[in-house]
């Protein structure tokens, strides 16, 4: 189509869906991650009220990630999922706990409410950590033979994936804190500003750690960035250097904006920071959809499936954007300080 491979178009679209998932569900997972740091039950109710009408739509991007990957890159889906069996399973179970907690917290009485409050926080944190392990396991690559996973069940668990897991959890926390800056007022708003400032620094450090560790993973990545243990290939590095520089600037900007009077800016800057990290990842892993073994063309579904999907997905995605925007518009504005979930 227009001289561009369908598989390439779909690789971009799937990457976009995953990115939307990360920045959208990221903020509501992040609110759960920050739950333990809230002052009291009233403040937690306020935090939930800031995400309750939209979390379900946000999580649907994850379902699209799974279903879309199956539809467009079945071989990548079939290779990756068994390799990441355990962290995916943990993520799903964590998401179950936090997902039902939205309603259950409201219906539980004293002990029930406490249990589902802990389940919401614990589930959000566990989901973020598991997703970090999935991401780490994905980046570091696994052993495949003819598209089948042939490694061991715990191959994904490495020091590298642990750093990624911590980094992603902090990142979601940052999205959550900046979302709370946007949606809340009063004492909680002040607290959220403090959280956002600390988390911005922590995320900056974690991103640096993950970036450096990624360089050591694979020769391809080293070459891409022009950085190795022994020498720096300046021309290559100069081309990609804007990314880490931009990331550092963004961290500083978030740190400043979180303290100021801005409502939405800290969240938008945090999204941009995630986009920078995402671009860095793309630079490292291009052109692989299953790192170091499978390109989009290798893993793609037959062309007629990709074409059908594209014809259906483009109008549907426009429609989804339209009503998603409408729902966010309906629930615009700050959550009142005396708001509760129901």
């Amino acid at each position: 189509m227009f001289g561009v491979e369908l598989s390439l178009i779909w690789a971009v679209l799937i990457a976009l869906a995953v990115f939307l998932y990360v920045v959208l569900d990221g903020f509501d997972l992040g609110v759960g991650i920050l739950f333990p740091f809230a002052k009291d039950s009233k403040e937690r109710d306020q935090m939930v009220a800031a995400i309750a009408p939209v979390w379900d739509g946000n999580e649907t991007w994850l379902v699209l990630g799974g279903g879309g990957l199956l539809a467009t890159f079945p071989k990548a889906y079939a290779a990756l999922m068994p390799a990441l069996y355990i962290p995916i399973g943990l993520m799903l179970m964590a998401l179950i706990f936090r997902g039902v907690a939205f309603e259950f917290r409201h219906h539980g009485r004293q002990r029930g409410k406490r249990f589902w409050t802990i389940a919401f926080a614990g589930g959000s944190i566990a989901a973020a950590i598991s997703q970090g392990f999935v991401l780490g396991g994905f980046i570091q690559g696994s052993d495949f033979l003819e598209g089948r996973f042939i490694g061991f069940p715990f191959d994904w668990l490495t020091p590298f994936s642990c750093v990624v897991a911590v980094g992603l959890t902090l990142g979601y926390g940052l999205l959550g804190a900046t979302w709370l800056i946007f949606k809340t007022e009063g004492a909680l708003l002040e607290r959220a500003r403090k959280w956002a400032r600390r988390l911005a620094i922590a995320v900056g450090l974690a991103m640096a750690a993950v970036s450096l560790a990624t360089l050591a993973l694979n020769e391809l990545v080293t070459e891409r960035w022009g950085l190795s243990m022994y020498q720096i290939d300046w021309p290559t590095f100069a081309r990609v250097a804007p990314l880490p520089i931009l990331a550092a600037v963004l961290v500083a900007l978030i740190w400043r904006a979180a303290a100021g009077r801005h409502a939405l800016r800290p969240y938008l800057l945090s999204i941009t920071l995630f986009a920078t990290a995402y671009a860095g990842l793309a630079v490292s892993l291009w052109p692989f959809i299953v790192p170091y073994v499978m390109t989009p063309a290798d893993a793609a579904a037959p062309d007629n499936a990709l074409a059908l999907m594209l014809a259906g997905a483009l109008p549907l995605l426009l429609l989804i954007f339209a009503y998603t925007f409408y729902v966010y518009w309906v629930f615009r504005g700050k959550v009142a300080a005396d708001a509760s979930y129901h």
């Binding site: 309750a52 999580e59 649907t60 079945p74 999922m81 179970m93 007629n304 259906g312 009503y323």
Partner: protein, 471 residues
């Protein structure tokens, strides 16, 4: 039987999908019911419709939440546990599943927010529109998931591609397989009946407790109408589905009917125990020579028998046989209760028929039992294939170890047991209190800007006695 990754993955899939299907089966029906209630309220402006809506929408929120989280699991399990299936058939079946997400899940999830939290944010018309969009989403979702499953039951419109995996040759053939229309309607009506049984049970419980308010009396009548008119229709659709299976999956039909010998003038086996070793039914009670009549074919026409198929090509017979009987039995119960209710209604004794009310409370879960049994019959009956006649279930499994699958299965069982018990407790608590005048909106204590709808709802200011909020 070896406890390998295959068997454990099958158990895990059966367990997680069985747990999941309970919720869509209920929420598909409930979403449509809510749309009807809100529509009736907007037209008539009679309070009990609004109260019923506000009551059931809380139960909808709980059930829908459990449906969502157990559904996310399904979209990844095809990869974690059935990766060989995904790699082989993903190019054909994947788009059907992806369209379910794109066309249905986003619609449901987005408008659910307005449905639950938008009472004071949008006008009544837009709120009703949101309810309708959620209901529409559940139906679109049923369309695509039944299309996908029906393709696996009666696959067509595909070929084997150059790399050995499947490729579609005609998408309309892939979506509209022979078994699809009857199965889609059968499942949709099953969802409506499931909801009707729950609504009837809750209303009957309220009446038994002496709450003969307009809410309980109205919802009981609505449910009775559904039972009396949809249950018979459901038998027709089930029969239609059986006829398709007779043509495309004769071994499944033979197992459902408990037929071992192929031949004409088949009996209708009412009960018995199909014994795979002796290839016969033990303790059989049958109506001789009525099978052909039930299938609507001439008495001399030959009907399938299991012995025609190698043992390795047969589904587990007893499970298919009994699941089918349980489903039909539940259908008979619903039909009988529908007729009973209609007669009591015509005799103007519906509100005082205590025995009938007790029967309804007892039969409240009958829809869930029927849906589960029906799906077991459908899915066990098409074994040993995951794609009928094309791919065996044994070939579909992921290259993962039994230990991992055993671990995840155990973990799912624990997680689902906790979540299900809590959810059931909260739903039953709400149902026990029942709907009544002055029902609160789902987030009554939220003081959002713009009180448009609340302005039109003066009586909501009262605190409902049903409220069980703490803190």
């Amino acid at each position: 039987m070896e406890w390998d990754a295959l068997l454990l993955s099958r158990i895990q899939f059966a367990f997680t999908i069985g747990f999941h299907i309970i919720f869509p089966a209920f929420t598909i029906g409930l979403a449509s019911y809510l749309a009807v209630l809100e529509g009736l309220w907007l037209i008539t402006r009679r309070d009990h419709f609004k109260n019923l809506y506000l009551f059931w929408v809380k139960i909808f929120a709980l059930s829908f939440g459990m449906g969502v989280v157990s559904g996310v699991v399904m979209s990844y399990q095809f990869g974690t546990n059935w990766s060989a299936f995904s790699a082989y058939a993903g190019g054909v079946i994947g788009p059907l599943l992806a369209f379910e997400v794109l066309a249905a899940f986003f619609l449901e999830a987005s408008f659910l927010g307005i449905m639950l939290f938008g009472w004071k944010r949008v006008g009544p018309g837009l709120h009703f529109f949101s309810t309708c969009m959620v209901a529409l989403g559940t139906l679109i979702s049923a369309f695509w998931i039944l299309a996908a499953n029906s393709w696996m039951q009666t696959p067509q419109g595909f070929a084997v591609g150059r790399d050995g995996s499947l490729v579609a040759t005609d998408w309309l053939d892939v979506i509209f397989t022979p078994s699809f229309p009857s199965r889609l309607l059968h499942m949709t009506l099953a969802a409506y009946l499931t909801t009707a049984m729950v609504v009837a049970g809750a209303a009957a419980f309220g009446l038994l407790r002496g709450r003969a308010n307009a809410e309980n009396r109205t919802s009981l009548r609505m449910a009775v109408l559904m039972m009396a008119f949809v249950a018979p229709l459901q038998f027709v659709l089930g029969h239609e589905s059986g006829m398709v299976a007779l043509e495309h999956q004769p071994a499944k039909v033979a197992a459902m009917e408990g037929w071992w010998e192929e031949g004409p003038r088949k009996p209708t086996v009412l009960v018995g125990w199909p014994d795979e070793k002796s290839e016969s039914n033990r303790f059989e009670i049958a109506i001789p020579e009525s099978g052909n009549f039930i299938f609507g074919v001439p008495a001399e026409q030959s009907l399938p028998g299991l012995k025609k198929y190698e043992a390795s090509e047969r589904p587990p017979v007893a499970m298919t046989f009994w699941a089918f009987r349980i489903m039909v039995g539940m259908g008979v119960v619903m039909l009988a209760l529908g007729v009973w209710g209609l007669v009591a209604w015509l005799a103007k004794r519906l509100d005082g028929a205590r025995l009938y009310h007790r029967a309804l409370v007892l039969a409240a879960p009958s829809g869930f039992v029927a849906v589960l049994a029906g799906w077991i019959a459908a899915e066990v009956g098409r074994q040993p294939y995951v794609i009928y006649g094309v791919m065996r279930t044994a070939e579909a499994v992921s290259p993962v170890g039994a230990g991992q699958v055993a671990g995840s299965l155990l973990a799912y069982m624990i997680v689902y047991a906790i979540v299900f018990s809590a959810g059931a407790l909260y739903i039953l608590r709400l149902m026990g209190a029942g709907p009544g005048p002055g029902e609160e909106t789902p987030h009554a204590r939220d003081r959002g800007p713009g009180d448009m709808l609340a302005a039109g709802l003066a009586p909501t200011a009262k605190i409902a006695p049903t409220s069980s909020q703490s803190e």
